[in-house]
Amino acid sequence: MRYFLSSILKVIPVLLMISFIVFFLVRLTGDPVSLMLPETATDQQREDLRQSLGLNDPIYIQYFTYMADVIQGDFGESFRYNQPAIDIVLERLPASFTLAISSMIIATIIAVPAGIYSAIKRNTFADLIITGSSVLGKAMPNFWLGIMLILILAVQFSIFPVSGSGTIAHLVLPSITLGTAIAAEMTRLIRSSMLEVLGSEYIRTARSKGLRETIVVNKHALRNALIPVVTIMALQTATLIGGTLITETVFSWPGMGQLLVQAVNARDMAVVQAATFIIAILVILSNLTADLTYRFLDPRIKYED
C-alpha cells in the first residue's frame, strides 16, 4: 500500500512534464486562429478571437490558466465538434480499450505455449516453424493482414462483419490483425527468455530432484522466464490503447488512433491535448500494473526498495 501511494506521488511530476510538452508543442505548430476562421476573416475578427481565447496573454499565464482548467478536467472545447474535448476522447476510450485487451488476450494465448514449446524443442523442426511464423507475423503489415482477413473471412465466407463495431463478432478480425504482430513479438521474447532460464543452475537443481520435465518447465522455468516479458507486454498494451490508426481505419473502428490523427490534421488543439493526456495516464497506469505484476512474480524486488 505504501508502495502504491509512493508510486502515485512519483507520477505527478511525469504528468506535469507531459502537460508542459503538450501545451508548448501545440502552440508551436501553427496559429490556431487562422484555422478556426475562414480565409476571408478580417484582421479585427482574428484579433477578437485571439483575445477571447487568451492567446495574447504572456505564455506562462496561458499555461497556468490551461493547467487550472486541466485539473478540473476541462481541456476546452473542440471546435470541430463543439463539445468538450474530454468528452470526445472518453467516448472513444471503451472501443480502444476493448480492442487492445482482446488483441492482447489473443496474443498471449498464442505466444505463451508457442514460446515455451519452441524453447524446449530448440533447433528442431517445430522450433523452426514457430520461429519462422513469428518472423512472418512480425513482417506482415497490419493493413495487409487486415484486408486479407476481410477478403477471406468477411467477404468470401461471411463469417465475420467487414467493419464497424458493436458486437463481439466485430471485434474478432481487428483483434486478430493486431494480435498477430504482438503474438509474434511475444513468442520471440518468451522463447529467448525461456532458453536463458532453462540453462540456469536452479533448473539443473530442479531436474536433479527428479521432478517431471513438465514441472521443471511450467513451474520452475516459466515463472522466471515471464518476469522480463511482463514489462514489455504492459507497455505494448498501452501503445495499443493509445491508438492503432491503421487497423482502426481498415475496420472503421471508432478508437483513439483515428480521433487523434483527425484532430492533429484539423489542429483541433483541445482534442489533441485531451487525447495526449489520457494516453499518458494510460501509459502510466500500465507501467504501474507491470510493476505490480513484476513484484508478484519476483520476490527479490520487494526487499530492494
Binding site: 537443481t205 536433479s208 519476483d298
Partner: protein
C-alpha cells in the same frame, strides 16, 4: 567380493560443435562402495563436475556420454529411460552443486523447493513434509528453521544457501551422495559441522559419497579413497593414506606439494608449473608431460594406461615405481 554401489567404467563425454569435438571426460573409471567416501581431486577443468553430472544423466547439452558404463548396484544408468532415471534423482542419488548462490530458484521459498522433493519421493502429506524440512534444516545447523522455510533464497547468505542445498540433498536418504565442492562457501566451523553430518549419514545409512573438492585438508579428514583426475582421466587412485604417504604420479605429488602443510615451511608451496590444457588442445602422449618434471620422449609419444602397480593403488605413468625416480630426479636438478 561384494558388488560396488557405483561402478564407473571407461566413461567418456563429448561435446560436438561446429568447431569440432572435445572430450573433457575421456575414459574415467572408478568405484564407490556402500558407506565409502571417495574424494575426486584435480585442478579446475579436469572434468570432475561433468563426471558427476553424468551419473545423474544431467550432462548439459550438447554434451553427451558416448561411451562407458555407470552402474548403480549393477544397473547401467546410461541405458535407463528418462522416467526411470528421474525416479532415481533426488531419491537414490542426490547431488549438492558447486554454485550455492545460483542453485536455488529465486522465485520460490525454501520450504516450497524442499518439500517438493520430499513429497515426490516419500509418501508424506504437506504437513509432514514441512516438519521434515524443518528437521533437515535444523540438522544442517540452520538457525530458526521455521522462519527460513518461509524465506526466499536471496534473503539467505551463500553459506546458508549451501546448507539448504545440503539439507535438500540429504532429505531423501540417498544411497549415493555427490557433493561438488560442498564446503567452499562455508567458514571453517560450519565446514566441520557439514563434514561431520556427511560422515554421520554415511555411517548410519551406509551412504556412498563422492566428494569433489580442491581442499586436500578436507580429503584427509573424510575420504576413504582418493581419485586424482587430470585432463579428463584418472591419473592415480588409492586409499587416502597411500595418496598422502606414498603418492606415485608426478601430478599428485605436485598437487600435494602445492598445499601448505600445517607443519611445513613455505618452500614446500611450489605449485605445479604451467597451466591446465583445455580439452581442445590436449597434448599427445601422456597428457601431463608438458608440465611433468620427469617426462621423457616416451611420455611425449605414448599414452600410459592406468595400472595397478601396488595393491589397490593405480597410476597412469610410465615411470615411477614408488616414487624413487622422482626423488632422484629432484635431487639431480636441485644440485
Amino acid at each position: 567380493m561384494t558388488e560396488p554401489l557405483l561402478d564407473i567404467k571407461n566413461l567418456r563425454i563429448r561435446f560436438r560443435s561446429d568447431e569440432g569435438t572435445v572430450k573433457p571426460v575421456n575414459g574415467v573409471s572408478f568405484q564407490v562402495n556402500e558407506g565409502e567416501t571417495v574424494a575426486v581431486v584435480g585442478e579446475s577443468g579436469c572434468g570432475k563436475s561433468l563426471t558427476s553430472l553424468s551419473i545423474l544423466g544431467l550432462v548439459p547439452s550438447p554434451g553427451e556420454v558416448f561411451e562407458g558404463e555407470i552402474r548403480l548396484q549393477g544397473k547401467d544408468l546410461t541405458k535407463l529411460k528418462k522416467n526411470q532415471m528421474r525416479k532415481l534423482r533426488g531419491n537414490e542419488i542426490s547431488m549438492i552443486f558447486q554454485e550455492p548462490m545460483t542453485s536455488l530458484n529465486p522465485v520460490f521459498t525454501i520450504g516450497n523447493q524442499m518439500t517438493e522433493v520430499i513429497k515426490l519421493h516419500q509418501q508424506l502429506d504437506k504437513k509432514e513434509s514441512i516438519n521434515k524440512v524443518v528437521e533437515m534444516l535444523d540438522l544442517v545447523g540452520i538457525p530458526e528453521p521455521e522462519r527460513v522455510v518461509r524465506q526466499f533464497p536471496h534473503q539467505l547468505s551463500g553459506g546458508m544457501r549451501q546448507r539448504v542445498m545440503i539439507a535438500m540433498a540429504l532429505s531423501c536418504n540417498p544411497k549415493l551422495l555427490i557433493a561438488d565442492e560442498p564446503t567452499t562457501a562455508l567458514d571453517v566451523t560450519i565446514q566441520a559441522q557439514i563434514l561431520n553430518l556427511m560422515k554421520k549419514l554415511k555411517d548410519e545409512l551406509n551412504t556412498g559419497v563422492i566428494l569433489i573438492t580442491h581442499d586436500l585438508g578436507v580429503v584427509a579428514e573424510v575420504a576413504d579413497r582418493v581419485v586424482v583426475m587430470y585432463g579428463g582421466e584418472v591419473v592415480e587412485e588409492a586409499h587416502v593414506n597411500e595418496i598422502f604417504d606414498n603418492p606415485v604420479h608426478p601430478y599428485t605429488r605436485g598437487l600435494l606439494s602445492s598445499v601448505p602443510k600445517m607443519t611445513g615451511s613455505v618452500e614446500e608451496l611450489g605449485a605445479i608449473q604451467g597451466s591446465v590444457p583445455t580439452p581442445s588442445q590436449m597434448p599427445k602422449g601422456c597428457k601431463f608431460h608438458p608440465r611433468c618434471p620427469i617426462a621423457t620422449d616416451l611420455c611425449k609419444d605414448e599414452h600410459p594406461n592406468l595400472e595397478e602397480t601396488l595393491p589397490n593403488h593405480f597410476k597412469r605413468c610410465f615411470h615411477m615405481e614408488g616414487g624413487s625416480i622422482y626423488e632422484q630426479h629432484k635431487r639431480e636438478t636441485t644440485t
